[in-house]
Subunit: 429 residues, 2 copies
């Protein structure tokens, strides 16, 4: 009997290797918003923020090829690439965020950010939200309750409930919810101080992407952020998912929420799939880290990675992809809301720009989550040629986060297919 | 006044960014063993193990370009690349090392390896050597005394003196030295056990590359390894520097030393500069980690990285580069030994394959290290167009670790230039 690709993965990579869908797709080709499997079947990619400007964008591919054939070396030699990109990247932020540290992954970026916060505050306590994920290093794994770390949690880690606009803490949405969140943060600050750790940082995704991207008003985080700063802590904004124009209205998630973090981390989309991450901070914050630890990253900031980053940023700006995210995203959200009129299982439609989705429920009055149903819907979409997935604290939020070159016609295909799948999938657990 | 590239780095990247040489080289192009600066000056690269098969090797560049233009996505979809490479990579190891986990850097690989050792042994204590470096994550920074971690050392870390064949522990070289090293390891095991951590791993570079690559006989590590296994610990062999055929006689550093580790980590040279790292272990060891932690690495194992890895391995094998490393490396070592006949400042010549160098001293009888002199020699070589550097516990070992396509003519150029620089540099501190 022939060994399947899944068998080979199990034999060579070990057990418990994550895949998408009950019947994982075997891909061979990508272009723009499209993917093809080994049998030539075409899929609409509605859930991949890594190929941010579209799969295999020719300008990014050309930049990689050209630089890979010219020079690739580390930053202990001088090269224009890293300073040119640092100049361009910092220009997209508030003037106070003027320094960059290059890594190879978002995990490495968050790993540095934790130490940067520790170096600049002199404290070690960290607060994160309870259904998030920030990466896979030993230190960063401490920030996740969805993937518990080997050996358990450190004493300096604390968690607060992530905001849920559909079922707000304290029962009331908006700023009452914001104050309840801030009170939870204050409680954890007091605990960390009582243990002698003090507070170094609150780490958040400003879109709460993994928690189900709740619908929060501008300024919602301000009470919590004020509490962090009163305690001498800093804010680490993990922009790996919402950043680089995806949310449409703003280039960065923290701008949309109306706050200015001390430290920003980025990753996945910044080079359209080439392994890159970065930490952005003000000079004094960066200096506190750089002077406390002799950081060097062999591949970080190499000329090929920088060429890929520069080309990706060029394409976002020259093709107006932030604006496209805003317009097509608004159309997608409206279309999903119209679909909700015909399907009671859609309990709540949420999102911003090209990061949108719907919370699926057994019953709108009780808001009872429907995770098994949601999983069947995601698998049904895959069978009908549209790739999306689901997440959230109840694993019942259909999440759509396509490349930023997504069009209205792509949205129409998603909505029509979803209409069909919802119609044919019984709403049961 | 025009802002220089070094000024720009300080403004955009912050302070304390490492560079090579008093007058850092501003590079624009690379090919094979050659690098060019912005003024068109050509340099012989004698110190870069990242472009393992030569700068911008056309086969690696072609593989990257082709795959970057076809598909780049994560491993939650199925793709042939990762299993094809895992099959090829594991084939270079003992049959017991049959599973692979892909990362983006050697640091990420060591960060995983530490948790893998913890998962498989149930213990948390770690022993490393005192002048080594294994990477830059918060956890891996714990393994280094040359770059002390922010916040100090964890209670479960312990260090033993790295072997120094020129000044052996206990005064006697060879197996007496090996038993003295094993005794130091046993002492630290007892301390970790007394503290309640037990022993999870001894982490070593099997070539002790950063410590000055001491000249150790086959089997030298066996007494220490026996002590580790008696205590229930495992060996993590960090092959980031000696691996992939560099040592000439063997494909892996641990083979040359005559031991079989439970966990191997690799990085820098494996894709000729593309950001890749990996952990190789037996199925049960991998399963202990995979089942204890839901590890996923967005960029790890992507099709472009795998194409770069495969092409690099193809070139190593098809161009006979391990054999070249052995032959040219032997010639280099002999040539260096002949040079030592004319320069008393060369206290000791060491190395294997294309990883060789010389320990520089003020006086051969006292073996007094000459770090300032060594630094001036490295800068003098750079001024004369040969790039090399220095390291070791006394910062007095000239280290040469060129791309594996290094030729005898390249060796001749190094030796002639070194002869000139040693002649014109006063042996003083």
């Amino acid at each position: 009997m022939t060994e399947t690709l899944i068998d080979k993965r199990a034999r060579l990579l070990g057990p418990n290797i994550p895949t998408f869908y009950d019947d994982p797709v075997h891909l061979v080709k990508g272009e723009g918003v499209w993917l093809w499997d080994k049998d030539g079947r075409k899929y609409l990619d509605c859930y991949n923020n890594v190929p941010h400007v579209g799969h295999c964008h020719p300008k990014v591919v050309e930049a990689i090829c050209k630089q890979a054939g010219t020079l690739n070396t580390h930053t202990r030699y001088l090269h224009d690439g890293i300073v040119d990109y640092a100049e361009r990247l910092t220009a997209t932020f508030d003037a106070s965020l003027d320094n960059v540290l290059m890594t190879c992954t978002g995990s490495e970026a968050n790993d540095v950010a934790l130490r940067m916060a520790q170096a600049v505050t002199g404290n070690t306590g960290v607060i994160a939200t309870d259904y998030t994920y920030h990466g896979n290093t030993m230190a960063v794994a401490q920030l996740s309750q969805t993937k518990p770390p080997i050996g358990g949690y450190w004493d300096n880690m604390a968690f607060v409930p992530a905001p849920d606009s559909y079922r707000p803490l304290g029962g009331e949405a908006g700023m009452a919810h914001a104050r309840a969140f801030a009170a939870a943060v204050e409680e954890k600050i007091a605990e960390l101080q009582a243990k002698g750790h003090g507070l170094s940082a609150l780490v958040i995704c400003p879109f709460f992407a993994n928690e189900g991207f709740p619908d929060l008003p501008h300024g919602w985080l301000t009470p919590a952020i004020d509490a962090v700063r009163r305690a001498g802590g800093v804010i680490i904004a993990d922009e790996v998912q919402p950043g680089f124009g995806r949310l449409g209205s703003h280039f960065w998630g923290h701008e949309r929420m109306g706050f200015l973090p001390e430290i920003v981390t980025v990753g996945k989309p910044m080079a359209n799939g080439h392994p890159v991450g970065a930490v952005i901070a003000g000079h004094d914050t960066m200096a506190a880290f750089r002077n406390a630890f002799a950081y060097f990253n062999t591949f970080g900031g190499n000329p090929v990675s920088m060429a890929a980053c520069l080309a990706t940023l060029d394409v976002i700006q020259s093709e107006g992809l932030q604006d496209n995210a805003q317009q097509v995203g608004a159309y997608a959200k409206t279309s999903l809301q119209q679909l909700a009129d015909r399907h009671d299982s859609i309990g709540d439609v949420r999102g911003a720009g090209l990061f949108f989705g719907a919370e699926m429920v057994l019953d709108r009055d009780s808001k009872t989550p429907a995770p098994e149903y949601t999983k069947r819907v995601a698998n049904g979409m895959r069978q009908r040629g549209v790739l999306m997935n689901f997440l959230g604290r109840n694993r019942n939020v259909l999440k759509m986060r396509p490349p930023l070159v997504f069009s209205r016609a792509n949205v129409d295909q998603v909505i029509e297919t979803l209409d069909t799948v919802l119609t044919e999938t019984p709403v049961t657990e």
